[in-house]
Symmetry: C2
Subunit: 350 residues, 2 copies
C-alpha cells in the first residue's frame, strides 16, 4: 500500500515524491502554507492528489484556527483557499476541492465553530476515501478496454502517487492485471520531472507489474515495432468538448497512437472534467522554472544564455481519444454529450 | 570555429563532447585503440565525424607502424580497421571510411612503406577537408528549402560537432542564416545523451543563432502552436529506398511533422547512403548501456530492478521525408531512383 498523503494528528503526511525512487521519506505539513509549498515544489503532484491535498490544507486552516465565530473562521478558510489556489493553475481538481470545502462550510455555517472545524476535517478525509473508491471504480470500467496481454504505454505518473491511492491510468492497469490480463507496462520517463522513470516504475515494481522504462522519444519506435497494444494516461483538466490537458508530451503520444491505430485512453475522475471550460484552448497551461530543463540532479546540461521553454502540460484534442474512463462509466465521442451526461450523474457507480 | 577533431603531430585531437557544454576540453588519441575508445565512449560522435575519426585511427596505425614491408603494414591496417569497425554498428560512414582507407592502401601498395604511410595519413586529412566542403555544399543546397523566417526544429546534434565542421542539418541552418534568413532553432534536448541540449545549443550559441531548447516530448506541442516551419535532421544511415536511421526520437518527430504538414528534411553526405542496404529493416540498430537512461549526471532516476530499453537509433520510413539534402544535390521521392542517381555522380558540386 502506497501512502501518498494522509491526514494524521500532527498534520498532513506526504510521501516526498521529489526524493523517489532512491529515498522513501515523508514530510509533515501542519499549516496551509506548508501544504501550498508542498504542492508548488511537487512533493505531492498529480491532479487528484493535489485536489485532496488542497482540501486537507484547508482542513488544517480550520484545525489551527483560533476563530471565535463562524464568520471569522470563514475568513480564514477563504484566505487558505486563495493561498492554495495560487499554487498550480492547470489541474482543475485543485479548484474543485477548494470549492467543495467552501460549500461544506456553507452547509454547516450555522453550527458552533468546533462543529464546523470538525465537519471540514471530516470532509477532507472523505474526499481522500472517495478518491480511492473512484479510482477503483475507474479501474473496473477501464480494465475491460485493456488488451488481454501485451504492452500498454503510459506517460507521466497517473498512479497511486498521483491520487489518494490506486491511481487513474495505473488504476486501470492494476484492475486489468487483477482480472488476469498479462500486461507489460511501457513507462515514458517523462522529462523534465521524470515522473515515469522515478514514480510509475517505482509503484508498479512494488506491485510486481512488469515495467520497462523508455525515454519519451522512444515511444514512436516502440509503437512501430508493434510492442504497444493500448495507451492509457491521466488528465489534469478535461474541457467540455473532451479536449484533455495532461503532462507535457501527452499530445505527442496521442498523435503517435493515431498514426499506429493504437487506442488512446484517458482515465480521470469526474472532478477533472471542467464543464465551464468549452475547449482546450481555454485551459491555462503552467510554465515552470527552466532549471527543470537546464539542470538534472544538479548537473547543468544546457549552456548558459540559451533560451528554454518549459510548459508543464499540453492539450490533446478530443479527436485523438478512443475514450475517457471515469468512475461513473466510459465516455466516448461526441464528448460534449457523453461528458455532460456522466457529470450529471449524482452517484458513483460501484 | 569549432575543432571537433584534428590531425596533429601528437595524434588525433578530439574536443571531448562528453564534457560539453560546461567544459571545453580536448583529448589526444595517439593509437587506433584510443580512437576506438573515443568513438565507443562518445568523446566523438555523429556519423560523419565518426567516419573521419575512423580514417584517422587507421592513419595512426600507419604512422605508428614498425612494418618493414607493405604486406606487414597491410596486416596492421586491417587489424586497426577491424578494431574500429566494432565500435558502433549503425552509422555507415564508419565502414565507408575504413573501406576508403583500405582502397587507398591498395592504390599505393607497390610503393615503399614510408610512401604508403604518408599516403594514408594524407588520405585521412583529405577526408577531413572533404567532409567540411561537403557540408558547405549541403548547406547551399538545403538553405533554399528553409523558411525565410521562423522556427526550425532539429533533433540530436547534426552540427559542426557531428562532422569535421559546419554540420549537416545545422550546416543547412547556418547557410540559411548566412543568406539572411531569420531562423530561430528549436533544439530537442535528445535523451538519453542530451546531444541537443548540450551540443546543438552550445554550437549555435557560439554562432549567435537564436536557439530554444525543449524536452523531446514538447515537440508536438510546439508544432501544434504553429512555432515550427520546417524540420531538418541528420542521418546515420540511409537505405537505398530512402528509409533513414537516425538518433532515437527522429521517427517520432517525423510522424509529428506529417500530422502538422511541416516539411521534414534529412541532411547527410552521400557517404551516409548505403545502396547495399535495400530498406530500413536491414539497418542494425545499436543498443546502448541502460545506465544512460537509469542515471543522469551520476544521479539514479530509475529504481533498481526495472527493465529499460535503450536503442540509440530508430528508422524513419522514406514516406515521411520531404527531401534528402546531400552535397551533390537534393533527392526527392521516389528515392530508389534519386539516391542512386546522386550516388552515381562522381564529383562534388561546389
Amino acid at each position: 500500500m502506497i501512502h501518498t498523503l494522509e491526514w494524521t494528528d500532527h498534520g498532513v503526511r506526504f510521501l516526498d515524491q521529489t526524493k523517489l525512487p532512491t529515498e522513501e521519506t515523508y514530510v509533515i505539513c501542519s499549516t496551509p502554507e506548508q501544504v501550498a509549498d508542498a504542492i508548488c515544489t511537487m512533493i505531492v503532484r498529480g491532479a487528484p492528489a493535489i485536489g485532496v491535498a488542497a482540501a486537507m490544507g484547508i482542513a488544517l486552516a480550520a484545525k489551527n484556527s483560533a476563530a471565535e465565530s463562524p464568520d471569522e473562521l470563514k475568513d480564514e478558510i477563504d484566505h487558505a483557499g486563495e493561498l492554495i489556489a495560487k499554487t498550480r493553475p492547470t489541474a482543475v481538481n485543485l479548484f474543485w476541492a477548494i470549492q467543495r470545502m467552501k460549500e461544506k462550510l456553507e452547509q454547516v455555517r450555522t453550527q458552533p465553530v468546533a462543529h464546523i472545524k470538525h465537519a471540514l476535517i471530516e470532509e477532507a478525509q472523505r474526499m481522500h476515501a472517495e478518491d480511492i473508491a473512484a479510482n477503483q471504480a475507474m479501474g473496473r470500467h477501464g480494465a475491460t478496454l485493456m488488451p488481454s496481454s501485451g504492452g500498454v504505454l503510459t506517460h507521466c505518473n497517473a498512479g497511486a502517487l498521483a491520487t489518494a491511492g490506486y491511481g487513474t491510468a495505473l488504476g486501470v492497469i492494476r484492475a486489468a492485471v487483477e482480472q488476469g490480463k498479462r500486461i507489460h507496462v511501457y513507462a515514458d520517463e517523462t522529462r523534465p520531472f521524470l515522473q515515469g522513470a522515478r514514480l510509475t516504475a517505482w509503484e508498479l515494481m512494488k506491485d510486481g507489474i512488469p515495467t520497462t522504462v523508455i525515454s519519451d522519444n522512444m515511444a514512436g519506435a516502440m509503437m512501430r515495432q508493434g510492442k504497444i497494444g493500448a495507451i492509457v494516461v491521466g488528465a489534469d483538466r478535461i474541457a467540455a468538448n473532451g479536449d484533455v490537458a495532461n503532462k507535457i508530451g501527452t499530445y505527442t503520444v496521442a498523435v503517435l497512437a493515431r498514426e499506429h491505430r493504437i487506442p488512446f485512453y484517458v482515465a480521470a475522475p469526474i472532478s477533472t472534467v471542467d464543464l465551464a471550460c468549452p475547449d482546450g484552448s481555454k485551459i491555462p497551461i503552467e510554465q515552470r522554472n527552466v532549471i527543470e530543463i537546464s539542470h538534472i540532479g544538479g548537473k547543468q546540461i544546457v549552456p548558459d544564455g540559451v533560451s528554454i521553454e518549459n510548459p508543464a502540460f499540453d492539450v490533446t484534442p478530443a479527436k485523438y481519444l478512443a475514450a475517457i474512463i471515469t468512475e461513473r462509466g466510459i465516455a466516448r465521442a461526441p464528448y460534449p454529450e457523453s461528458l455532460a451526461a456522466l457529470a450529471g450523474k449524482t452517484k458513483v457507480e460501484v
